[in-house]
């Protein structure tokens, strides 16, 4: 459906192909024989979660995306001081305040315990601790699969309070039987509390991580939908990425599918395709979970748009699997919007969609031609986005430039 009709600087797209299919397409085949998990959109037809009838609208997805962005900014600026009123469970000192979950999350299925049982969990590069809901549960939300039952797993063990993992997490103390209590309070007040535990995590039929540290949640609430839990891929030692490093190497890769009716992958280990372009991966001590890159420029239809270097020369850019829409400094976004609109003059304008303010009506067109957008990173890596990374479609009559402003970039 996407032709290179206008050269590398344009996307020529059949309008009939723009919206995702109502049925799930064929799964991507594994690119390696190691740890390889299928990735699907949480609300699409490929999702194992059954709550599709209550899937949010596009406007709701984008509205909630702003909550995730706010929580990233709060953490980055170190202003997420504890507000007792924010702790929904009445705990005055949340051990860890994480990101809003948003609704643009992707789902992977993993096995846990011996024998392994399958769970569908959100995957998140912006947080660290993986967790599932466990029996016995004091306060669990309704999930897709039966709760994980530690008593049915021959390899389960609770992490004792004196263990290094318990100390590093800054947990909620000890239970009477010396079990390490953890708590994660997300930025949208979603919350999980439980025992820190170890068990075997099965990634593929013959691939397992023994002694995987995770949270066994027994008091969970918030915007998790019907997901069985979450797998954290942040930078901290407790994340799946870090725990798997000894076996697969320090790193991981994923591919998010073009539509909610397609399937991508998550693979542990840092094997790269031959065509990959690299830029430096950066870290900050004050936000140790996040992966940072340096975005230094943007091209539209192959031409670099004029953005003062000082605009990008701020604190860098977080790369995040859980934020839906890329946020740019305001002057960068204004320049992008202006350049993009300059090439789209033949199309009728459409109303804004939540945070997306540059929208077009493709009604009546068989094909559309839109300019490419490429992101330029420090070191020269130039990443020309897929069509789906340029336009966000709620419907054919409302296709929007899929970027938003971060707000005032002078503050």
């Amino acid at each position: 459906a996407v032709e290179n009709g206008g050269g590398a600087n344009w996307h020529v797209v059949s309008v009939s192909s723009l919206l995702p299919s109502a049925a799930c397409g064929t799964a991507e085949k594994a690119a390696s024989n190691s740890s390889f998990l299928s990735v699907v959109h949480r609300h699409g037809p490929c999702s194992p979660l059954l709550s599709r009838g209550s899937a949010p609208t596009h406007a709701e997805i984008l509205d909630r995306d702003q909550e995730r962005v706010k929580s990233i900014h709060r953490k980055h600026h170190g202003s997420s001081k504890t507000n007792p009123a924010d702790a929904s469970k009445g705990v005055s000192l949340p051990a860890y305040r994480g990101l809003s979950l948003g609704t643009g999350n992707y789902i992977v299925s993993v096995g846990l315990g011996t024998p392994a049982r399958s769970f569908s969990v959100v995957f998140d590069t912006g947080s660290d601790l993986s967790w599932v809901q466990c029996k016995p549960c004091n306060n669990c939300y309704e999930q897709q699969d039966p709760l994980f039952d530690p008593a049915q797993s021959s390899t389960y063990s609770a992490v004792p309070c004196g263990a290094r993992e318990c100390q590093e997490l800054g947990t909620q103390g000890c239970s009477e039987d010396n079990k390490c209590r953890y708590e994660v309070v997300y930025g949208d007040q979603s919350q999980t509390d439980g025992n820190l535990a170890r068990d075997t995590l099965t990634l593929a039929p013959s691939e397992a991580l023994t002694g995987f540290v995770f949270g066994c949640g027994d008091d969970d609430s918030g915007l998790f939908g019907k997901a069985d839990g979450l797998v954290g891929l942040g930078r901290a030692k407790v994340s799946l990425a870090s725990q798997a490093a000894a076996k697969y190497g320090a790193g991981f890769s994923y591919c998010l599918p073009s539509s909610s009716s397609a399937t991508g992958y998550l693979s542990l280990g840092a094997a790269a395709p031959a065509n990959a372009q690299f830029t430096s991966l950066l870290a900050r001590r004050d936000t140790p979970s996040f992966y940072y890159v340096n975005l230094v420029g943007i091209k539209v239809a192959g031409r670099a748009i004029k953005i003062p270097s000082t605009v990008f020369n701020t604190a860098g850019t977080v790369i995040d699997s859980g934020t839906v829409i890329t946020r740019l400094p305001d002057r960068a976004y204004a320049a992008l919007r202006s350049a993009f609109a300059g090439y789209m003059g033949k199309y009728k304008k459409a109303p804004a969609l939540s945070i997306l303010d540059t929208c077009y009506d493709f009604t009546g067109y068989k094909t559309v031609q839109i300019p490419s957008v490429a992101l330029v990173f420090q070191g020269g890596a130039t990443v020309s986005l897929d069509f789906g990374g340029v336009l966000y479609l709620s419907r054919v009559s409302q296709a929007c430039l899929a970027f938003a402003s971060n707000g005032d970039d002078t503050s």
Binding site: G251, L256, T263, P273, V293, T323, L385, G389
Partner: protein, 31 residues
């Protein structure tokens, strides 16, 4: 700070090479 969201990452093989402190983008990593 800017945030590179998942819409812009679609169909790229995004490689977090933590050992070498670099991140890579491979076009057409999935459909």
């Amino acid at each position: 700070i800017g945030i590179l969201g998942n819409t812009q990452q679609k169909t790229f093989a995004v490689v977090y090479d933590v050992g070498n402190q670099k991140v890579g983008f491979g076009a057409k990593g999935c459909s």
